[in-house]
Point group: C2
């Protein structure tokens, strides 16, 4: 499996592998009408997510993916390529989630993660906090969705080798 | 259908119906192990979302819903009870999305929306911008998830009756 631009595969990835300033691009999501409608019917039954004909007369001019569908597909790729397999300790949330461009049937999406900060916890030095810029790019290399997210990640070396912040 | 604490049903709801300071609570989501695993396998295949046995040895001590699953379920209830059926013009995004508490099998969730601001557009006075605090409450009335979101909504009266901001 592609290691998403990291030196270590997800199976052996820890806090120390998340280097601020590094950029990781991975995944290839081909989004199809069938998947857009299935997600829309289950979770976001607005006409522009569920009905290709009805969607034509909306402001979007056709079917688009629910923003939560795009976010969930991004998450899938992050689990495959970005987050550590055993060292992931979850996330408290995301900020500035933006749906910049509609995602339409046939779009091909990739995920680009930029590591903004990586800070070892002062109170629990066996783990750290990684802040990332998440971007979903379409086939035109335009940002269709973006967010800033925080992940808690276990350290490979429980004892820090340098002063902690 | 319950109108979610509004005077108007979703079919006849417009920007003017979103009154700052008003609180709307609606929906009842019973979240089950089967649904958590299905969503997890499709979009967030971390062990604490997909494997009830394996999840026991994680920091969560058992299966929990993907945060994106909780968000998507919240969206479903918002489409049913909160957003206008014909006047919804989409959303640019959300801020401060927080997963405050794990959501576990058997939890019963409701959605509470507080309208923070409602501003008629100056440049396009046929529509307005509604900012809401989204909260997902569990059966103990604790906030399991929260976010602040913005929705663009068409006005019932294209011409404002008072000075626009």
């Amino acid at each position: 499996m592609d290691s998403g631009g990291f030196k270590t595969p997800v199976e052996d990835r820890y806090f120390e592998d998340y280097v601020p300033g590094s950029v990781h691009e991975f995944g290839m999501i081909t989004i199809q009408e069938e998947g857009i409608i299935a997600f829309g019917k289950q979770f976001d039954p607005q006409i522009f997510h569920t009905d290709p004909e009805g969607a034509k007369s909306t402001i979007y001019g056709g079917l688009i993916a629910s923003g939560w569908h795009t976010a969930s597909l991004m998450m899938r790729e992050c689990v495959r390529y970005y987050l550590p397999r055993v060292a992931s300790l979850g996330s408290p949330g995301v900020d500035e989630l933006r749906w910049n461009l509609p995602v339409r049937p046939g779009d091909i999406l990739t995920v680009r993660m930029t590591i903004l900060e990586a800070t070892r916890s002062r109170s629990k030095p066996d783990r750290g906090i990684v802040e990332s810029l998440f971007e979903v790019l379409n086939q035109d290399r335009k940002v269709a969705m973006s967010a800033k997210g925080v992940n808690f990640i276990s350290c490979r070396s429980p004892k820090p080798s340098e002063p902690v912040s």
